[in-house]
């Protein structure tokens, strides 16, 4: 059997691979040849769903042998179907293995593993090529050496009695019926980890190799641009050092001790955000540390992961940049860019209301930011002023993808049903009790609003958070989509122009009720004169999902009359209406640091552990990266660390 070349393509069979192999002399990191996760859709032969052998062909030869594969599919049933059915019951186990997979497929945690299962029919796949060749030996010429042999096999396989069907199965140990339940819960837990880690590894590796390759061609281009030997040497050395440093960074465990804390700039139930400075190079970052046990208790894990994913994947100016994530036994750490301008909540607390022009600027930027997030395939679901940060130039960036306070259990409808039906879950005596009834709010009771505003920050830092900006469909559990973020936009716009969010109430419970009954409760105060277009835009956003502007895409909102004259494409380049005035790169003027307890969580946690007499970690204890919920959390970006 000497058709090695064909084998290669047969098994790996997409066109890219074929290209890669024919051009062996080139640097093997040609982008088109990068390994890809195998998805069902890529490999399944369309239309072949009823025929296992078609799947097999689809997998092995998509593209390359496509016509033949189709041919097989057409030929197979009449020629070999009886044998195939004999075969699957012949005890080799493929048929059985397959029959168990539907159950496995229902488990979302089996990850990529199950995606192949329906194609993994060694038996049927085995039979089809022979059968096809037997049926049409002349139609598909192959490597000369292989031809005769295949013909031999095909006639042999087509012989009426099929003793070899079972005999062939005996070559290999039979595949038993898969039984993941034969192991205990730990093994199944580890199964998820393992599957996740492996697919993460390849996903990350491919991404890195791709980017590395890109940088390599940039370097070569630079080399080609000059003949000056010293310049060339320096280009080469710099490139090599950068790549090398990145590799070193990848295998080095970062730890909080590598950073000096300058100030705590935010604090919440799940953790805190600190302004830190890296000891080795003096660079300034915002470091968010999250307490693992709290995340665990409060079901935040999926959200932490979601945030890590979105930030790691995005490279958008509208999304806060994540440099690296790391973890130790107690905390998850996210090292992010420090945005010295503070957040929109702080701005709103300070200025109470914005003019229509200023509102237009921020709302337009938020539109672009939400659009950017949607383009990444994410629904933010928790757009609110606290999550809208302002960079050095006063431009908007979104943060808090999924772990912001109050986001927990957002998917859990029962949680909201309870809130809607039951009594208030907030202990009133703990907070400033401010009797705000939306209907009665006028300018005259702005002092009460100020009370609300003060409690606003407490609310933001609590685990419950504020529901003020959340769309009703998220509570009611009838499903939601990207347009829920546009509802939030409407509520923020309302707050910018009116001074409070449209459904603000004394406690969350009332707010939920108001949001769900938005038709009755949305009220524009008489004494605040909103522009017709502004009010129209708000009403087009705060409405039922079916009619909501933006449902068909962000352009619907951009085209609204309120934004007439706004140049969206250059918005980020114009001067913002409010530019932070800073004295240094560690200026925290725009953060309410006075209101934040400056004791950090690590200190508190260590003290608590000391009290509990928690012993040292046993040597066999797994590394923090390996504990299931936090797998894949660690992330390292090349960009800005080494560029």
């Amino acid at each position: 059997m000497d058709n090695q070349g064909n084998r290669l393509y047969l098994n790996f069979g997409n066109n890219n691979d074929r290209l890669a192999a024919t051009d062996r002399s080139t640097y093997p990191t040609t982008p088109s040849t990068f390994p890809q996760p195998v998805f069902q859709g890529q490999s399944a032969n369309p239309g072949g769903a009823q025929q296992p052998q078609a799947h097999q062909q689809g997998y092995t030869s998509a593209g390359y042998f496509q016509p033949s594969a189709n041919h097989f599919g057409a030929q197979y049933p009449s020629q070999l179907a009886p044998q195939a059915s004999d075969y699957s019951s012949a005890g080799q186990g493929y048929g059985q293995a397959r029959s168990t997979t539907p159950g496995a497929n229902n488990d979302p945690n089996t990850g990529l593993a199950h995606q192949f299962s329906h194609q993994n029919l060694g038996g049927a796949g085995r039979a089809s090529p022979y059968g096809a060749r037997g049926a049409s030996p002349g139609q598909r010429p192959r490597t000369a050496g292989a031809q005769g042999q295949q013909a031999g096999y095909s006639s042999y396989l087509n012989a009426p009695p099929m003793p070899t069907q079972t005999a062939q199965a005996d070559y290999f140990a039979p595949a038993p019926e898969r039984n993941p339940d034969k192991y205990g819960p730990n093994a199944n837990n580890n199964q998820k980890k393992c599957s996740q880690l492996a697919s993460d590894f390849f996903k990350d590796s491919v991404k890195r190799a791709r980017e590395r390759n890109q940088r390599q061609s940039e370097l070569e281009q630079k080399l080609a641009e000059t003949t000056d030997p010293r310049r060339r040497e320096s280009i080469w050395a710099t490139g090599g050092r950068r790549e090398g440093s990145y590799l070193r960074f990848l295998r080095t465990k970062d730890k909080p001790e590598n950073y000096n804390t300058i100030k705590i700039i935010g604090k919440g139930a799940f953790g805190e955000v600190k302004l830190v400075q890296k000891k080795s190079d003096g660079k300034v970052y915002a470091m968010k540390s999250l307490i693992k046990t709290e995340m665990f208790k409060k079901d935040q894990l999926a959200h932490v992961r979601a945030e890590r994913d979105i930030l790691a994947e995005s490279d958008s100016p509208w999304v806060v940049k994540l440099y690296t994530t790391f973890q130790d036994a107690n905390f998850l750490y996210m090292l992010m860019e420090f945005l010295p301008g503070g957040d929109l909540m702080t701005m709103l607390i300070k200025y109470e209301i914005f003019s229509e022009d200023i509102t237009r600027f921020y709302i337009a930027e938020i539109v672009l930011a939400i659009e950017a997030v949607h383009k990444l395939g994410f629904i933010h679901r928790d757009i609110k002023p606290d999550n809208i940060l302002l960079d050095r130039g006063g431009h908007v960036k979104l943060t808090d993808f999924g772990l912001s306070t109050g986001f927990h259990k957002l998917h859990d409808n029962n949680y909201y049903q309870q809130l809607l039906q039951g009594k208030s879950n907030k202990p009133r005596d703990n907070r400033n009790s401010i009797a705000i009834d939306q209907i009665n709010l006028t300018v005259s009771n702005r002092s009460q609003i100020n009370d609300w505003r003060r409690s606003r920050r407490l609310m933001a830092y609590s685990t419950v958070g504020t529901p003020d900006y959340i769309a009703p469909e998220i509570f009611t559990g009838h499903g939601y989509s990207f347009d829920c973020d546009w509802w939030s936009l409407g509520t923020i716009m309302f707050e910018c122009l009116v001074g409070w969010p449209p459904f603000c109430a004394e406690d969350s419970h009332d707010t939920y009720r108001k949001i769900v009954n938005w038709r009755q409760s949305l009220y524009f105060p008489d004494d605040i004169q909103l522009g017709v277009e502004a009010e129209n835009l708000i009403r087009s956003l705060i409405c039922n999902s079916e009619n909501r502007l933006g449902r068909g895409g962000a352009h619907e909102i951009k085209n609204h009359a309120f934004f007439r004259g706004v140049e969206f494409d250059s918005l980020r380049r114009i001067r913002a209406p409010f530019e932070p005035r800073l004295t240094s790169n560690i200026d925290t003027t725009y953060f309410p640091t006075d209101e934040i307890d400056q004791t950090d969580n690590a200190t508190l946690l260590k003290a608590a552990q000391a009290r509990n007499g928690a012993g040292g970690a046993s040597p066999q204890e797994e590394s923090p990266e390996m504990s299931l919920p936090f797998i894949g959390y660690t992330f390292k970006r090349f960009d800005n660390n080494f560029r």
Binding site: N120, G122, A173, Q191, A198, A237
Partner: protein
């Protein structure tokens, strides 16, 4: 710990058809690495043994041709003295992956990067990957036992033909200790992580990072230093390459044990065999490309290497492909009905 580890030994356990020229033990080499049982992967002996187990083939004109083409593959396979029937992981239907494409893209060194730096990177990446799987067999269940335990795996072995002993330093010499696989693996893990975490061996200071020499970019100062070793200019120690070799060899043995003893229990049952295949094939490609493992050392897994060369997992330009016997690989594909 390094003493304890330094003499991990490999020896051949008596198989029924034991070959006379195999000595059980090779002496410890200087770097603490021992040769695995000698023998070339492509030996072909006792070819007739297997053919008697072949299914009876109906006579047809093309049949003789078939046999004559395939019998060499059978010969090669039989020389591996694999158990019959062959392990499930040699069935091409179960030798698949969670990724497709050219794995070489992940293991080829970026041109400007220092070789030592690249080796260090690969060691750490593969170490993390491997322990991801070891973790599964480590898992303590409610009854307090691991999947891999002293009863299931009383020795660190890779199939019927290979088992490995641990060398404890004793007095001036070494004492060979046969350990349950789980204990062997635990000791090895500690040894490897001890190396990886030692910043004298795996430096982490970004300041010392260097780059690779490129003759096309004039760099005369770096040319032909008489006392050059891998990674020297990036701050790696003189024995760095040999440490990496030991680590890769040890990791290979763990993979081999996972395949031979745990492929079905638990990986197949847990739907993890494709993940294992992908990580291991990537491991073999990397280890061979960087000369961190020799063809001889691959022996316990030779048939799988052959199969992956034949089914395209290992691209023809790879060292792993070079080390493979395609006849054996193609024969396996044929047996699995995938030729």
């Amino acid at each position: 710990m390094s003493n304890l580890f330094s003499g991990i030994n490999a020896r051949l356990r008596g198989a029924s058809s034991k070959q006379a020229n195999k000595s059980p033990v090779s002496p410890t080499s200087e770097d603490g690495r021992l040769n695995s049982p000698g023998g070339l992967p492509h030996r072909s002996k006792s070819s007739s043994n297997l053919s008697s187990k072949l299914p009876p083939l109906p006579t047809s004109p093309a049949l003789s041709q078939t046999i004559s083409t395939t019998s060499t593959g059978d010969e090669v396979l039989s020389s591996y003295r694999l158990p019959q029937p062959l392990p499930l992981w040699l069935n091409p239907a179960y030798a698949k992956h969670i990724v497709r494409g050219n794995f070489m893209t992940l293991s080829s060194r970026p041109k400007a990067v220092d070789l030592g730096e690249w080796m260090a990177h690969q060691v750490v990446e593969h170490y993390r990957n491997l322990w991801n799987f070891v973790h599964v067999v480590y898992a303590k269940e409610v009854n307090g036992s691991n999947i891999c335990n002293a009863t299931t795996c009383p020795r660190m072995s890779a199939g019927p033909n290979h088992s490995y002993t641990w060398l404890n330093k004793k007095g001036d010499g070494y004492e060979r200790v046969e350990l349950p696989a789980i204990e062997y693996i635990t000791l090895m893990q500690r040894w490897i992580s001890g190396k990886i975490d030692d910043t004298n061996i795996f430096p982490t200071d970004p300041a010392s990072v260097s780059f690779s020499h490129n003759p096309n970019v004039a760099n005369t100062a770096l040319l032909n230093s008489p006392d050059e070793w891998v990674g020297k200019r990036s701050g790696f120690p003189k024995d760095f390459a040999s440490i990496c070799k030991t680590i890769f060899l040890q990791m290979f043995r763990v993979y081999a044990h996972l395949y031979w003893s745990h492929y079905v229990e638990p990986f197949y049952h847990l739907n993890l065999e494709k993940q294992l295949n992908s990580c291991f094939s990537h491991f073999v490609l990397t280890a061979t490309a960087l000369n961190l493992i020799t063809p001889q050392e691959l022996e316990p897994m030779q048939a799988l290497v052959d199969l992956w060369a034949a089914n395209g997992t290992f691209p023809p330009e790879s060292k792993a492909y070079e080390y493979a016997n395609l006849k054996a690989g193609n024969r396996l594909l044929q047996m699995g009905g995938m030729a």
